[in-house]
């Protein structure tokens, strides 16, 4: 033999590992960062609304009803003379907080249920899936109506309602992702090492399904913002005079011919924000694959 073996030649066992740089995905990067920038602007404006030099959103300046942009009202005023810019900023506060907190409820409850259902299978899974189907079949507006009628309209109740409504989708995503990963050999390997259920769920499965879940969560944020807007538009959401984008669109409906900006400005803000969340969510979903190699 030409390649001689002295004992077991450890030289045959040496391996070097080449460093691999991360792959940038060059297309769409600019748009992604613009989306992130927009979200950052809206979020910081909403948080810092109290300290910004804005007039109160509920002050009615009856001399400036339906006025266009001016020195006093940078974006104009609505039908009751309230400053549109400050109403937009304070409305962002409502929309973003409902839009972010409600899906978090869905993520924790729905994601948790989905992960357990996908892991344990069997009767528990059938129960969860059946429950989700029931919840999905329930008309969402009727639920919102019921809750607001019996428990009153408030930010908290709206958030809880929308949170409950977002549970089914997140359960499904979590369950599908868990089903994919639970069959992989690294989970069997963990069981062979003696890991218990909790350890496998937390340390093996959760890191793998977290990213697709979060990507979907961001898409859910976008949807919830729109749904909150629709509820407010229908009068079932945040009661006036607290500003919310949906409510502002409803109020602007009457002035569409005289001052269309009253309806279109909040609609535009909502559109841009929802679009931004969609882009970020899509981008995260595209990066879900941990493999960063080339070929």
């Amino acid at each position: 033999m030409v390649y001689s073996i002295r004992g077991f030649d450890l030289a045959a066992l040496d391996v070097e590992v080449e460093p691999i740089a991360a792959t940038p995905a060059s297309r769409g990067r600019l748009v992604f960062w613009l989306a992130v920038a927009w979200i950052a602007i809206v979020a910081s404006a909403a948080i810092a609304a109290d300290w910004l030099p804005l007039t109160s959103p509920t002050d009615m300046d009856l001399l400036a009803r339906r006025a266009g942009p001016s020195a006093d009202h940078w974006l104009g005023a609505d039908a009751l003379g309230r400053d549109l810019l400050s109403r937009l900023v304070f409305g962002a506060r409502i929309s973003l907080s409902v839009g972010l907190i409600a899906p978090v409820l869905g993520l924790i409850v729905g994601g948790g249920l989905g992960m357990l259902a996908g892991y344990f299978r069997g009767r528990f899974e059938t129960l969860v899936v059946g429950g989700i189907d029931v919840l999905l079949a329930f008309p969402p507006l009727v639920l919102a109506l019921a809750i607001t009628t019996y428990l009153g309209q408030s930010v908290l109740n709206i958030t809880i309602t929308l949170g409950i409504l977002s549970i089914p989708a997140l359960t499904r995503v979590a369950r599908a992702a868990t089903l994919t990963f639970a069959e992989r050999e690294f989970v069997t390997a963990a069981r062979a090492l003696g890991a218990g259920h909790g350890r496998i769920l937390m340390r093996e499965l959760l890191p793998n399904i977290a990213l697709p879940l979060i990507a979907f969560f961001l898409l859910a944020v976008a949807v919830i913002i729109v749904v909150e807007g629709a509820l407010s538009f229908l009068g079932l959401g945040i009661p006036p005079p607290a500003p919310s984008w949906g409510g502002m669109i409803a109020e602007g409906r009457d002035s569409l011919d005289a001052a269309p900006a009253i309806a279109f400005l909040p609609a535009g803000a909502m559109f841009l924000t929802v679009l931004a969340f969609n882009m970020v969510g899509d981008r995260l979903r595209a990066l879900t694959d941990p493999r960063q190699g080339v070929l």
């Binding site: 450890l10 590992v17 050999e185 690294f186 069997t188 963990a190 190699g293």
Partner: protein, 295 residues
């Protein structure tokens, strides 16, 4: 030396798929003495992977006994089973799928120690680095990387390191080299032999390639399936025997028993029988060139 390390008697493994029952393993018996390597050969679909997993109780066998060091594994409570799992480990066929894609190598290889509650942070790290060096990887280059940065052969080394870090007594290699290139396969086989010597392991080597099995085994057992696999619940084709001459000398004195739908595992045959295999059959079985000039 008292008794075999692993003693399997009348093992039966069945799966329920929809409304059909698949008899994966039917009445298999064998034993492995301490420090021995038993090779298990069979074509795909004959149940050898199910056998490997059933021995480790990753799949609950329907009937039969598995005794490890005189301790009966079937029916053992989960806590005791977890303790026993530290003493036997499994290497899988697909090395890349056996590693959690989102965890770093150092974390993965330290996991068995963490599960078993051995040592603290620094002792674990030292043991991880030691075992990585032993399998031929440079710890500094490997410990903080993710699995997708490594090739198949390197991932298999990492899997072997993970299995060996708790110093088990039995190592089950389930087609551990089938997915690797020829030259990497040779490296890993050499590595397994070296590890067996170093850690005084007992090996159960499962594969479909007789030459590979023969290279590492002291004894060889053959598993065969008596019936052609058909997609239908009822047999529509006549039962066909697998070409046993490809695996086993015709002069073997292996008893055959048939129960259920699949044949029993033939008892181990001594290696000297393999040398009487006609050259044509061996070449057909493994595709090796019969006219290669040995150097």
């Amino acid at each position: 030396m008292d008794g075999p390390l692993l003693d399997v008697r009348n093992l039966v493994v069945e799966y329920t798929v929809g409304d059909r029952t698949v008899h994966a393993v039917s009445d298999v018996s064998f034993d492995i003495a301490r420090g021995e390597t038993l090779g298990l050969v069979g074509e795909s679909g004959c149940g050898k992977s199910s056998l490997g997993r059933a021995i480790l109780q990753l799949v609950t066998p329907k009937a039969g006994r598995v005794q490890f060091d005189n301790v009966e594994l079937t029916g053992l409570g989960s806590a005791s089973l977890r303790r026993m799992r530290r003493r036997m480990q499994l290497i899988f066929q697909d090395p890349i799928a056996s590693l959690n894609p989102r965890r770093r190598i150092g974390d993965i290889v330290a996991e068995p120690l963490r599960i078993a509650g051995i040592g603290n942070g620094s002792t674990r790290e030292r043991r991880v680095r030691d075992v990585l060096t032993v399998v031929g990887l440079e710890p500094d280059q490997v410990v903080s990387r993710l699995p997708h940065e490594f090739s198949g052969g390197q991932c298999q080394r990492i899997c072997i390191a993970r299995a060996l870090v708790i110093e088990p007594e039995l190592l089950v290699c389930d087609e551990a080299v089938s997915a690797l290139d020829v030259s990497i396969r040779a490296q890993i086989l050499n590595l397994l032999e070296a590890m067996k010597a170093r850690y005084r392991l007992t090996l159960l080597f499962i594969a479909h390639d007789l030459a590979v099995v023969k290279a590492v085994s002291d004894r060889v057992a053959v598993i065969s399936a008596a019936y052609a696999r058909s997609a239908r619940p009822r047999r529509s084709t006549a039962p066909r025997r697998i070409p046993t001459p490809h695996f086993c000398s015709k002069r073997s004195r292996c008893p055959t028993r048939r129960s259920g739908r699949r044949a029993a595992c033939r008892s181990a045959s001594r290696l000297r029988r393999w040398r009487r295999l006609p050259a044509a059959a061996s070449a057909r079985a493994v595709g090796a060139p019969t006219d290669a000039a040995p150097r």
